[in-house]
Amino acid sequence: MAQQRSGHLTTEQLSALLDKQLSPQEWAVCQAHLRACQQCQGVLADLRQTSVLLRALPQPELPRSFVLPATITSPAGQISRPEVRATVTPITRGRRSAWPTYLRVSTRFISTIAAALGIIFILSGLLVSLPRAGSTTAGSAPVAAPSSSNTATRGVAQTPQARAQTPTANTANDNHPKTQLPTPVGTATDHSFSDTAHTGNPVNTLLPLLDPSTIEGRMVIGVLLLILGILGVIFTRRRQVGRTSGRP
């Protein structure tokens, strides 16, 4: 057994003695020396107290578990010893993703498609609105004429509802395929009273802003889909693993 030239035990030997990592022969030699050497006894006591002080420190919260899986073995097969695994306690991760992998991947895929559809809706709304900008003023005048006659007839028949009916003239224009123009929101809200008589879409009566047949509806739908898609991609991204830290 190797010792210092001065005849005392080395720090490595004393540490191994403290950790019970010596062979029976080495242990016997160290014990025999310690019985006669006060200096080595003092160093051993210091090392023992140093270990005690270190274990008394508060344990920091580790970012992840450092427990090796049972399937991993060293070339010599020493790590797979059961006694080694029994002494190590697993540590749960601080920031653990609660979403299963398949759910996160599918949500990310759907969010991407939603964002793409949103962009398509926005572009379609923009492309449709550009050529119609020059033709809206010409198309509105002849269409207004028959609607005004309708309002006149309705006004004669039902005077209390005349004020309510006059906005419906514009609703008739809205239901006409040629007159899908930007109209005031107030007029669109009156669809619920008289639109059922026409062949209009019931959705328009409840959610006029989400009507894909109108330019505003397409834009609103496109923006909503784009926002939802971006939020879904952001929330389903993978988070970085925390930094590792160790104790001496």
């Binding site: 720090t11 950790d19 990592q21 210091d46 090392l47």
Partner: protein, 37 residues
Amino acid sequence: MGTVRSRIARGRARLRSYLYKYRELLPRGYRLSNDRE
């Protein structure tokens, strides 16, 4: 295991030296004692 034992031994020796170097900063119950006191 030999490398691990060596590293543990070196770490303990260095920590022991550090504790001896700054003994006045530690409470009495945490100070290392030796025959040189």
